[in-house]
């Protein structure tokens, strides 16, 4: 039969199944292939905290959403157009994210009596009429996988493990993607077990062929390449981007990179990535705890490396005292916080932006630390690079905020020319003549970086209050106040050294939506939509949270209303209100999930009526 080929501007697909069903792998394969075709895209993995949650349960469902298109894509998609559900639990958990009229591809074999019961279905939803507002396609994925592998004589376990490739094959057919990149990947990935290479490729092809021959699918779709600016691209997750940004900063500065880190979700991938790159002389130290992670990094910075520690919210809390030490010592240090749902252990695998106040204020006494935030997965590269630049130039710890959504999410990244990245030019003090540990550079107010091993510069530093210039321990009241103000002034001065904030849309008007971090995509999409409807709304997204850029105040006063969407109870809005005395409208969401653009659009509508 001939099937119609329809052109789509953008599509969102969600793969969902048991955490052991390989949905993350399936999603990632679909993503790389789609990226190779030149679509713009954004992804959102959504997986349980349990490594292998009991099969068939609601809390064991693992999902991967990809939004791709021929236009600019800023978010993983508010709702999905296609839901691939490998079992009833996956259907139940994800149905609410499927748009009305959307396509469900259900693995009929997964809807056994036992699985239906585990998911809490009294009757089988793919057989009763409950899904009638969707286009439901039930496919015997497990059975068809068995058929495809019949002759190979493999164990049932191995056969059933490859069924995700059947689903992937079907999706490749439906969205006119080539199988070759995945076939190549399978060869590489399973090269040690040739029978898996054979099995997975067969199943992938069987899925594709099923799409071709079955009569249940009436149409297939094509999505033209996006008009991204010319250049070379790759797909990159936020955590990889942080690791590479740090390596790039190491190369550009000529400083060795030292990472002291304790594994924690969702930041561990930065440790994994950096531990691979020994030929960049990266030293990764898996510390015994979060405190050793940061204090070892401080020790390394003292020795002349770029000390970095990576963590998530609970770990940041544990590092608090050591951050204060770094403030006192005035040594460069980068602290990456890949935020997750909290408080306490909270929602380890879910995203949130609720560590902002912890980052800005969370230390004993007056301990100012510059805070910067990445806004998209690929932007993590630039943000990490910038964190190192500031840390080294101002001899200060810097907190870099990312979040679980950015860390695990991926998007196409236009690969920069390595040679064109800006230089970072740190200086080690070598001249003993006139050396004092706490003398200061007039412009940056930073103290000299004097390394052990340098003849003639022997000196002592520590956490006790320092006397101005000499660095000797001092309990003098006036000196203490002077030094507290000096450390603050040094951080404030960074505002002189960063580009001004730039507004998307008109520079003045009815409404400014101001955000920070991983909400960039949702806010930008919402603002674009509203602007295309003729609304007077602009977007400002902050990279620098401490200090703010110098022009932020004047931007805020150029709009009648200010909306601050955040994945918390109003942390940036609190900072803005405190500093600029403006009436910022907070709009929060704390569900462990990113904003949907439509949520922000409704809020914009509300404020503009």
């Amino acid at each position: 039969m001939t099937k119609t080929l329809k052109d789509l501007e953008e599509v969102t697909i969600r793969f969902a199944g048991d955490s052991g069903d390989g949905m993350q792998l399936t999603g990632m394969q679909f993503t790389s292939t789609t990226a190779l075709l030149g679509n713009d895209l954004s992804t959102l993995p959504d997986y349980p905290a349990e490594i292998r949650a009991p099969a068939g349960t609601l809390f064991g469902v693992s999902g991967f959403q990809i939004h791709f298109g021929s236009t600019e894509i800023n978010t993983p998609g508010d709702s999905c157009d296609v839901l691939v559900a490998m079992n009833p639990a996956a259907l139940k958990v994800n149905l609410r994210s499927l748009r009305d009229g959307g396509i469900i591809i259900a693995n009929r074999d997964g809807f056994s009596a036992k699985n239906l019961k585990l998911a809490g279905y009294e009757t089988n939803p793919i057989e009763d009429e409950s899904l009638s507002k969707y286009q439901l396609h039930s496919v015997d994925i497990t059975k068809l996988t068995h058929n495809a592998l019949q002759e190979l004589g493999l164990s049932t376990k191995i056969v059933e493990r490859s069924k995700n490739f059947f689903a992937l094959g079907m999706m490749y057919w439906m969205f006119t993607r080539p199988m070759e990149p995945t076939i190549k990947w399978i060869h590489e990935k399973f090269k040690k077990t040739p029978e898996l290479v054979e099995a997975n490729i067969r199943v992938l092809k069987a899925g594709y062929a099923f799409g071709e021959t079955t009569e249940i699918f009436g149409a297939r779709y094509s999505v033209k390449p996006a008009t991204l600016s010319a250049g070379k691209y790759r797909s990159l997750t936020g955590n990889e981007a942080i690791a590479w940004g740090l390596i790039a900063a190491s190369v550009k500065s000529g400083l060795e990179l030292f990472l002291g880190s304790y594994p924690i979700t969702p930041a561990s991938d930065i440790l994994h990535e950096l531990s691979k790159h020994k030929n960049f002389r990266v030293k990764t130290f898996q510390a015994e705890d979060e405190i050793a992670g940061i204090t070892s990094a401080i020790g390394a910075s003292y020795g002349g490396a770029i000390g970095v520690t990576t963590t998530s919210g609970p770990g940041l809390a544990l590092k608090t005292e050591a951050m204060g030490l770094a403030v006192m010592l005035e040594l460069p240090l980068v602290i990456c916080d890949v935020q997750r749902g909290g408080p306490s252990t909270g929602l380890p695998t879910k995203t949130e932006q609720a560590d902002l106040l912890q980052a800005v204020h969370g230390r004993n006494s007056e301990a100012p630390i510059p805070v910067i935030a990445a806004s998209t997965p690929a932007d993590c590269f630039t943000a990490a690079f910038e964190a190192v630049r500031i840390a080294v130039k101002y001899m200060t710890p810097v907190i870099l905020l990312s979040d679980g959504y950015l860390g695990n999410g991926a998007e196409p990244w236009q690969i920069p020319d390595a040679a064109s990245l800006p230089d970072i030019s740190p200086k080690f003090r070598t001249d003993p003549q006139g050396f004092q540990p706490y003398m200061r550079d007039e412009k940056t107010l930073s103290r000299p970086w004097a390394l052990p091993g340098t003849p003639g510069l022997e000196h002592r530093i520590g956490g006790l209050e320092k006397e101005h210039i000499t660095g000797n321990v001092s309990y003098d009241p006036e000196n203490h106040e002077f030094m507290v103000k000096m450390r603050q002034a040094k951080v404030d001065r960074i505002a002189e050294d960063i580009p001004p904030a730039s507004v998307y849309g008109e520079k003045e008007g009815e409404l400014l939506v101001i955000g920070w971090g991983g909400t960039f995509g949702a806010i930008r999409t919402a603002v674009e939509t509203k602007r295309s409807q003729g609304k007077s709304v602009s977007h400002l997204h902050l990279r620098y949270l401490n200090p703010f850029q110098k022009n932020v105040g004047s931007i805020l006063t150029s709009f009648k209303k200010i909306l601050v969407p955040e994945l918390n109870l109003g942390q940036l809005s609190q900072l803005l209100r405190a500093k600029y005395l403006i009436d910022a409208h907070h709009y929060g969401k704390v569900q462990g999930l990113p904003f949907r653009a439509i949520e922000i659009e409704s809020k914009i509508d509300e404020l503009l009526t």
Partner: protein
């Protein structure tokens, strides 16, 4: 890759070798320990030994946490780092890994090293990072003015334990041996010669060297170790360990330690029943023996062993890391940023 640090390393190596005296290591800071504190002696012995080690002053780093002992770096005219409570071993680990060329020392106490910083201490030992840890054990919290510490004896009456402490104490030697330290020793503040020899041995050891130093706090715990340090009693109560020598002690060197099964017991030499041949011969490389010796501290009727309890060689952490980096450099060549950013799957948009 052009490393900025190379310039420092070059200068560091090129500096003319000097002959130092102990005075060269005295900083210009006023020493602020209580008069009569055992810390003075430890400082003096370190300053006496260091000139003999042929380590240039600019390559020495003393790192500490918080507590009386942790003031130590201020008084050494070397590089010094007064950290935060308990974290000296972790700070030192990061420094030594980043800079294997430096000689890194940690000054800590029973509270700093075994209570708040216990975790870092044990993990440093097992990793065998090449740092020297001097743990000043005075069995009391001095700087906070007299609470019991993790090495205070059970039942000890202090400000925070008016009815006697119900905490069972740590045995620092057993902690470090249990944590897989490759060098474990004990010495005493009031035995300068012995302390110097132990510090020298620790300095020469390649790997984590853990040294417990009995230190008198004359304000809050005066005399805690007098039976091991005072002339009248020490010979009868201390067993000086010497590698390859039988374990003899006593004022008249008339007693020895013999193993009955796994239990060390005191025997009288020349009583017609026992001779030198019956005694344990100290072997620093014997793991089992090291635990027995460390355990002796818990048995009141036995003399207290001091000296090098255990010393074996195994690769240090930072050497292993350096080896992996060298291997990666040989195999893959110097890291190329352009290559890194462009490796794997990429696509071009025209």
């Amino acid at each position: 890759m052009n490393l900025l640090i190379d310039e420092i390393l070059k200068k560091s190596e090129a500096a003319p070798v000097q002959k130092y005296t102990s005075k060269d290591f005295q900083s210009d800071q006023d020493v602020r320990w209580c008069p009569g504190c055992g810390d003075y002696s430890i400082l003096a012995q370190v300053q006496r030994v260091i000139p003999d080690l042929n380590i240039p002053r600019h390559k020495l780093v003393f790192i500490s946490g918080i507590g009386c002992s942790s003031r130590f770096p201020y008084y050494m005219d070397t590089y010094g780092f007064h950290g935060i409570h308990g974290r000296a071993a972790a700070i030192a680990s990061g420094l030594k890994i980043a800079r294997p060329d430096l000689s890194v020392w940690v000054a800590t106490g029973d509270g700093d090293g075994l209570s708040i910083g216990g975790n870092h201490l044990i993990h440093t030992c097992r990793r065998n990072i090449d740092i020297k840890i001097l743990l000043f054990n005075n069995q009391i919290y001095g700087l906070t003015k007299g609470q019991y510490s993790p090495t205070s004896e059970f039942g000890k009456v202090t400000k925070s334990s008016p009815y006697g402490s119900v905490d069972h104490p740590f045995n620092p030697l057993l902690v470090s041996l249990g944590a897989e330290a490759s060098f474990v020793a004990r010495s005493l503040d009031r035995d300068p010669k012995h302390l110097q020899s132990v510090i020298r041995r620790a300095a020469e050891h390649k790997g984590t060297a853990f040294v417990e130093i009995y230190q008198n706090c004359n304000v809050f715990n005066d005399g805690a170790f007098f039976q091991f340090t005072e002339k009248e009693t020490k010979e009868e109560n201390v067993l000086y360990l010497e590698h390859g020598k039988p374990m003899v002690f006593g004022k008249d060197r008339d007693k020895g330690i013999k193993l009955e099964g796994f239990t060390p017991t005191v025997v009288k030499l020349g009583d017609g029943k026992h001779s030198l041949e019956d005694l344990i011969v100290h072997n620093e490389k014997d793991t089992m023996l090291s635990f027995i010796l460390a355990r002796m501290s818990n048995i009141e009727t036995l003399p207290r062993p001091v000296g090098v309890v255990y010393a074996v060689q195994r690769p240090s952490y930072e050497m292993e890391m350096g080896r992996q980096i060298q291997e990666a450099l040989q195999k893959q060549g110097e890291g190329d940023l352009e290559k890194l950013l462009n490796h794997g799957e990429t696509w071009t948009i025209k």
